[in-house]
């Protein structure tokens, strides 16, 4: 009660200032009061034309007809229950909202009702616009999802369809290599080795495509068992030392602390090392340095792969983990032999292990790729 006390004496001004139309009528449906907003909205009506006049002469017939407001007012007088509001549409695209409230003299009798009326045209228009944008957005989203599904399906099909021809080629290469198709000259042997290594490369690309479609359909299987991250790192570095050797790069491994309490899929974690190290070798110039540092954090084992290569621009650092992203340069300057899947797959695998992966880098200053694997607590 205190609040209302403090404005007693100002009620009139407050009511007059309300930007809605307020009309009070008696049981005979004669207008007892209309606020300033009513006069502002009604052309050429003054107080003396309105007060004591029947409501049906004061508000437009169209409104009366559309709303059935007279019956509703009678109903409120009869029952004492407020009419909680309805929306009406006016010709010319105007929208109004109105409510009818009983004013009780005492417990029993209702001698007056108050009608609130508000122009909600602008609000309705905005609501309509919002609804339309929402529908458009939903349609666009559905279309996008469909395109994405078609693309995923294509990747999956392509990677499957390539398997049979690769297997056939591989089988004959093995026959050649095994001398089952006659002795090979040294030149023939050398060329077969080239075909063989290219087929190996093709198999990796196909495997990557399949992994990406597995990641998308959440079908990437992670078999968790206790793993030794140190050993996996050592093995991955070993496997790639020949490739790094071709560029006379040095690779080193530093292990701090013990890392026995990690569970994960060893084959998949090896794949992450492989993808990150292959990138490091690729983007580090000859005689460069690649370091792997494994540290022990309170809740994670943290792996950093540091190179002193060309680095990653700030604007690309987030996007390089997206699939098919091969840098922001023109597609013609793109390096061959990569589909932009390695980091997307690494991210997918690490996240499937509830770890995190990110990059810290500056152009020309090398890159540090970091991933964490949660310890089993």
């Amino acid at each position: 009660m205190k609040g209302i006390e403090s404005v007693r004496g100002y009620q009139e001004e407050i009511i007059e200032a309300i930007p809605s139309t307020i009309i009070v009528v008696n049981r005979s449906l004669e207008v007892l009061y209309a606020n300033r907003n009513y006069y502002a909205k009604s052309v050429a009506k003054r107080e003396r034309d309105v007060l004591g006049e029947r409501l049906s002469r004061v508000i437009p017939p169209m409104l009366i007809e559309k709303t059935g407001i007279i019956d509703k007012i009678r109903e409120v007088f009869l029952t004492g229950v407020p009419f909680d509001g309805d929306q009406i549409r006016y010709p010319g695209g105007m929208f109004y909202f109105y409510k009818i409230y009983p004013l009780k003299e005492d417990e029993e009798s209702i001698s007056k009702v108050v009608i609130f009326m508000e122009n909600i045209t602008e609000l309705t228009r905005l609501e309509e616009e919002l609804r339309e944008s929402y529908v458009k957005l939903e349609n666009a989203f559905a279309e996008l999802k469909e395109n994405d599904a078609i693309k995923s399906e294509f990747i999956s099909t392509a990677s499957h369809e390539l398997r049979t021809p690769i297997t056939v080629i591989n089988s004959y290469i093995e026959m050649f290599e095994g001398g089952m198709l006659g002795e090979l000259s040294s030149v023939q042997r050398e060329k077969i080795e080239i075909i063989s290594s290219q087929i190996e490369h093709m198999i990796r690309l196909v495997e990557d495509m399949l992994d990406v479609s597995r990641l998308e359909s959440k079908a990437l299987k992670i078999n968790k068992y206790p793993i030794w991250v140190d050993d996996i790192a050592r093995k991955a570095i070993d496997d790639l030392s020949r490739l790094a050797g071709l560029k006379e790069q040095s690779m080193s491994l530093t292990i701090e602390g013990s890392h026995s309490d990690v569970e994960g899929d060893g084959r998949r974690i090896k794949q992450v090392f492989n993808n990150l190290l292959t990138n490091a070798i690729k983007y580090t110039p000859e005689k460069g340095k690649i370091e792997v540092i494994i540290t022990d954090e309170p809740e994670d084992v943290c792996v950093s792969i540091i190179d002193n290569g060309i680095g990653v621009a700030k604007k690309d650092q987030h996007r390089i983990f997206e699939k098919f992203y091969t840098g922001s340069g023109s597609s013609l300057t793109r390096e061959s032999g990569r589909m932009g899947l390695g980091l997307a797959i690494a991210k997918g695998i690490i996240e499937a292990h509830e770890g995190r992966i990110w990059v810290a880098s500056e152009i020309g200053m090398g890159s540090t790729f970091i991933f964490t694997l949660p310890k089993k607590l």
């Binding site: 049979t164 690769i166 089988s171 597995r214 079908a219």
Partner: protein, 118 residues
């Protein structure tokens, strides 16, 4: 050793035949599951190499039917489809092994040999 290869890709059949014959196997082929059933009854091979996606009768159904006919049949499913759960489905159908393309012939041969030695 008698091998029956059931695969709808003629190039694959040809390659299997070339290489496995070079290793001294007797190779029989069929281009779909239905034909595979008939060939199985005819030649009673030591080991079957079975593709999955084939017209008429797929590899999983063909595996089940061959095992109905001969519960001691040794079937290796070789698929290009790496869909998760498919390996289990094949093993449940009674296949002894599930191999994904591409594979090394040497691995395939060791799988065949270990099955025959059982």
């Amino acid at each position: 050793m008698k091998l029956l290869i059931i695969d709808d890709a003629p190039e694959m059949l040809r390659a299997f035949r070339d290489i496995l014959e070079a290793y001294g196997c007797e190779v029989y082929v069929a281009e779909n599951g239905e034909e595979g059933l008939a060939r199985y009854a005819e030649v009673m091979p030591d080991v079957v190499l079975m593709d999955i996606l084939m017209p008429k009768l797929d590899g999983i159904s063909a595996t089940k039917k061959i095992l109905e006919m001969d519960p001691s049949a040794k079937i290796i499913v070789i698929s290009a489809v790496g869909k998760s759960g498919l390996d289990n489905e094949c093993l449940l159908a009674g296949a002894k092994k599930f191999i994904i393309k591409p594979f090394k012939i040497k691995e395939l041969l060791s799988s065949i040999n270990s099955l025959v030695a059982e």
